[in-house]
Subunit: 754 residues, 2 copies
């Protein structure tokens, strides 16, 4: 090849031009950045400037021969590329011109290009045939600072908890026998209760600090220790204790709450039956009031009516039993009654049968069991009577007259548990991501013959694409759940109906996300991910059931969708319904007016990275799906189809609506969260995470947006490219981002993550 | 409501009209069927006919008031809907008119509509307020006949095998301790070897029948017994024995093959190292020829160079060790050498260290271990010398001069194992689907207040949509893998390069499919799916690693894509390359010419159900992705980027190409398979499964098809609706379809599936 020589002014730009033109993604705004830099670069002669501008013409890109010359020039420069330099490409350019001479002016215009184009070493180091000094992770950000942002107001309780689990009792180990595993977990639960964590969410008089938000935060952190511990803890303090706290009254609190929080009274939450899981209202266990003895008789009437899958069933002394309350021959609906199960010797009381549920895919440290009641009598006071009571005269009384509303009010008190399940799922996903990414920052496989070392897994574009959006999602969901719990606990917002809708949706999308993330991590670690010692396998088995318990995700998403539709629901079958639809129709049309071909094909970076675009896209989707679902249901109803069946016919539509609503909610919460981050440096990083999440989610549903004409082909393709690009841009920080989850090193036992 | 009376002629049509108009999906072709039936119905008066035609105007559909009248008429008819009637809606109509009178003419035109519109009871029974006599599954098809079609030429060997595993030794049980589990599995393997199954694929002189296809079929069926058994069996007979058979020569066969097939010589396949999994060519273990002693020295040079995850490592007496063969100081590349590991007392031989890999997410009945070699000497004859040998003079010799080609020829002999892994994955998916679907044909949850019973899970549209396409996919992949093995075994096709490409792709998409299917089944069974006793949990743990072993799916898909590109590959960097691209460009342009707006918005049923459309769509996608990948790579190379790095930059594109190619291959194979089914009755059912698979796969990639303009919005939406509709149409046969997998009842131990 004929060797070409360049003036020093041009020479310093050549590495940049080579990166820009050999890359796929040269947009107008990027060209602009470079043009501006050239114009302001006083080190250039006019001739240099003309030449450089000529090489920036998108319509007439530099010929391939020119690019080869550039590459040749770079390769023969003998200059080393050092990734840990603050501005590695600018420094590289500087050295190409000056060859490491001491006096060599650093060109701020080059730095300007490097920063504004978001050029990262892993964008280009594989393009050059020069020696590369690799750095697996950048030190621009500090994991501790990120962790502090995530912990927010709960830093003290979280830090304290992370310290407590340093105790050897919490050392991770393999437990294959359920009996032995359960004993270990029980000890861990009791230890945490001793430290006051069991009652943290209870009122002050009962050993707690009323800190439900703190409870949720430690619940997530508990997943770093073990899934079985987390769930057993949740059953004892959240479900059993929570039912006493939320459904009981002072007499119950005084009698039981403190002891429950101290794990001195072990209990279970007996709601689900073999025949009735999702349809709680249809449970068959009866609680019949017997006036002569002033007692309530708990009874399992038939096959499949036994309580099923009840956590803590083998260790419990007492159960919160959900049953149809029958007073004076009338069924007053589902109520909870406290039923002692065992005596002090831990023998079952008369009429009670408990059977071990046996081995499960995961959570084998939790003692799930089936429970049968044969005419078991308990005093009337054992009825958890906050929302419905039996008077001294033996008649039923409730402040909430509508039995439907009463039922949902009772269930509504359990919404906090759903937030916690989602947080535990998120904790599992964070843990798996931390393991997989730490591994992929060490593991090398395959190589280019020119290089000495094989490539790091994390430097493969496909590896970046499979893991980085999942990390971004973890950040978004963290903020969403933290805020959701704050709203749930805010007593100034008494109407919890909206919260219920929102939690139902978030629990579904986040527990599904957690499972997908853990699975991706397992595969990304290859065979190593399959070994129990590396923790991902356990996380997979444990988190799996989160999609089912505390409400099956498909059922919850329909609940969420119905919540979204609820403003019209009251109007179904009435004259007002069509006017509501018309109103919504108008609003939609207004929105639609902005979706013109220019908008649906707008592909510049500023637009695609702008939260306004993301919010608009998510808002459009939710509204459109709401409107079309409502229209379809209305049409069925107009034809005389009962609403139950009309809803059945649009079931898949409702699932889509539930998901859309939840993604929008999560993203909007995150945007607000980011706006409050004080340091710009961190805000920029979090914004990038939010952008990646948004574009990734839009891409997942690109078929729908394309069908609606909301996205044009060009824009849809551009978003795909931007997702890949963002993953690469985040590559230098990916190590810090998973370390920023704050998983204590004493919990990071996976050999591949150490 | 004012009661309207209809003439008997009209009355008999009313149930049909109600179903048609209250449904979402009234297409032109469907209206046509009804119009034709009315015209040919001699039981109608002219006036009736005019009225009925008036109700068929899509532009002026019958008013909602009319529909309500119809519903009222039906509800008040007191007629019972009996799902098990051969033509339930026609019979229902007949009874609405005649009220069960004995003499009542059966109207063939109604039957004609019912058949041609594919109306199934579950399309409409929820629309009517009448008593419904439910039948969970239709008896129109016979599971045994379906099973016979799937077994094909291998019926005898499969039936024999299914009978053999009736032996109590194969009774499914929970094994939590790996040592105990491994003993059970070892006994099972030895039992099957005694029955001749171990050597079935070996030549006649060595105890076998040379039936590799039969081997693959029983391998799939073995998954119904247990995953660990399947994999242990595959390691002993397929990998260890297979390496002797395929890489060794007569002396090895005579010495070892028969004993390997009888499980009298237990062995392992020591290829993977801790540091090198996917990149086999980079393994570090050395096999150095020592001329003085005429021996080969096997050695593990450094940390992470030990053999890793080797199945059968704890039970084996011998290993097929893959190592860099060094002769006379020169590295001749990777070769396999037989190395004795233990003596008769099962003590490790000098220089050998084996360590248990410990517990895994699944397959805990397989003894995986790490192996280190410290200067272990074996005679020269132990080199498996089919493709490369050391002569008596101590020099290296191979017929295949190109070391690259030699390496891939050796690996190519292992392609059969990849087909088997995919089949085992498929077996796991079939098992999980059978459990989940049998459960959902018994389990009820929620109900309409009007009905007495709660609804069957399988009658929920969302449940149909989540499971039915997975059942259809199982049928398609069954045919694809069966055929793939036949092609692999066909010695008249000596060029196995194409087979390798195809197997790499099919293994990837099918093992991923299997994992997704098993996960969906787990969730579809709720908490019951989480219990080990119901088998899905074990399948999930066992099949998980199939995406990684025998070639990581992401790596294999790139291999497949590169195979597709290989016709151009030879031309890379040469003048001929652009002319090849131009040729491909022309062909693509020809194809593109047919994608006009009429085609991309064609939504009639005939078109959407036509295999020509599916094949066209799949072919278009593969070609387009091939062309654009090739163009992108060419552009990079023209700019001087080395081809390794150019491939890296299009990695995600290659993954998409690999998937597209494999889906097309599977579907095309299935279409050919269906064409050979003799009975039309069965052909129709299998066609419907193929159609569902095709439309489901097109929908999964709808964003891409929309971006390309291949699909218009209307067509894309119509396909979505068709997928839902096909799931409903297959609902009556779903029970038979999973029973048709032929899983022996003695293997169906899951309590929820019994």
């Amino acid at each position: 090849m004929e060797k070409k020589t360049y003036s020093p002014g041009i020479l310093q730009y050549i590495p940049f031009f080579y990166v820009i033109w050999s890359d796929d993604l040269v947009s107008a705004s990027e060209i602009n950045v470079v043009q501006k830099a050239i114009n302001e670069d006083t080190s250039l002669s006019n001739q240099d400037r003309i030449q450089l501008h000529a090489w920036l013409d998108v319509k007439q890109p530099p010929p391939n021969g020119e690019l080869k010359q550039w590459k040749h020039t770079i390769s023969n420069s003998k200059v080393k590329l050092v990734e840990s330099d603050t501005y590695p490409l600018s420094t590289f350019s500087q050295n190409v011109v000056c060859h490491y001479k001491e006096v060599c002016p650093f060109n701020d215009q080059l730095k300007h290009i490097e920063v504004n184009l978001g050029i990262q070493p892993n964008h280009y180091n594989h393009l050059f045939d020069v020696e590369v000094e690799h750095e697996t992770t950048s030190h621009y950000y500090d994991a501790k600072e990120i962790d502090t942002i995530l912990k927010g107001r709960h830093a003290m309780v979280i830090d304290g908890f992370r310290e407590v689990v340093k105790n050897p009792l919490f050392k991770w180990d393999i437990h294959r026998t359920k009996e032995e595993f359960r004993e270990v977990v029980l000890k861990q639960v009791q230890f945490l209760a001793d430290k006051g964590y069991g009652s943290i969410a209870y009122p002050k008089g009962y050993g707690g600090t009323g800190d439900m938000e703190g409870y949720a935060a430690i619940f997530e952190n508990m997943m770093y220790v073990d899934g079985s511990l987390t769930i057993k803890f949740g059953v004892q303090f959240g479900l059993f204790g929570g039912s006493i706290q939320k459904l009981g009254t002072k007499k119950h609190h005084d009698h039981y709450l403190k002891r429950a929080g101290e794990a001195k009274l072990l209990g279970c939450f007996a709601m689900t039956e073999t025949g009735h899981g999702s349809n709680v209202r249809g449970i068959k266990t009866t609680a019949t009031y017997h006036q002569e003895t002033d007692c309530i008789i708990i009874h399992t009437p038939g096959k499949n009516d036994n309580k099923e899958y009840i956590g803590n069933a083998l260790h419990s002394k007492m159960a919160s039993v959900f049953a149809q309350l029958i007073v004076d021959g009338k069924n007053e609906g589902v109520h909870a009654v406290l039923v002692p199960l065992r005596n002090d010797k831990h023998e079952l009381l008369p009429g009670i049968v408990v059977e071990d549920n046996g081995y499960k895919l995961g959570l084998n440290g939790v003692d799930n069991g089936k429970i049968w009641f044969n005419q078991v009598s308990v005093p009337r006071e054992n009825l958890l009577n906050k929302y419905g009571d039996i008077t001294d005269e033996g008649t039923y009384y409730s402040d909430i007259k509508n039995p439907n509303k009463r039922f949902f009010t009772m269930l509504g008190t359990l919404v906090g548990g759903r937030i916690c399940v989602a947080r535990a799922g998120l904790g599992g996903a964070k843990m798996a991501l931390a393991v997989a990414i730490r591994h992929s920052l060490k593991r090398r496989q395959f190589n280019d013959s020119i290089k000495i070392q094989e490539d790091l897994l994390m430097d493969y574009p496909s590896h970046q694409l499979r893991l980085t959006p999942l990390v971004a999602s973890a950040y978004v969901y963290h903020a969403a759940l933290d805020n959701m719990m704050a709203v749930y606990c805010d007593d100034s917002l008494p109407d919890k109906r909206k919260v219920e809708t929102q939690v139902a949706g978030l629990k579904s999308i986040i527990t599904w996300y957690a499972n997908d993330a853990i699975q991706e991590c397992r595969e990304a670690c290859g065979g190593k991910g399959y070994l129990i010692e590396n923790r991902i396998a356990d996380l997979k088995g444990d988190v799996d059931i989160f999609t089912t318990f505390e409400g099956d995700n498909n059922v919850l998403l329909q609940l969420a969708a119905k919540g979204v539709l609820s403003d019209f629901k009251a109007e179904f079958n009435s004259a007002g319904f069509s006017s509501v639809l018309k109103l919504l129709g108008t609003q939609l049309t207004d929105k639609l007016a902005t979706i013109n071909p220019v908008y649906s094909n707008k592909v510049d970076k500023e637009h695609l990275y702008n939260p306004k675009f993301h919010r608009h896209a998510f808002d459009y989707r939710t509204r459109r799906l709401t409107y079309t679902a409502a229209m379809r249901i209305r049409d069925y109803i107009k034809k005389g189809i009962p609403s139950y069946q009309a809803f059945l016919k649009v079931q898949t539509h409702l699932l889509a609506l539930g998901k859309a609503y939840s993604v929008e909610l999560a993203y909007n919460t995150f945007v607000d969260f980011v706006a409050d981050i004080p340091a710009e440096k961190h805000r920029l990083l979090f914004q990038k995470l939010g952008t990646l999440y948004a574009l990734y989610e839009i891409r997942k549903d690109a078929d729908w947006f394309l069908e609606q004409g909301y996205l044009g082909s060009t824009k849809s393709k551009a978003i795909r490219q931007r997702v890949e690009r963002l993953c690469t841009e985040l590559r230098p920080h990916i190590g810090v981002l998973v370390d920023g989850f704050g998983i204590p090193e004493h919990c990071m036992t996976a050999p591949i993550a150490r």
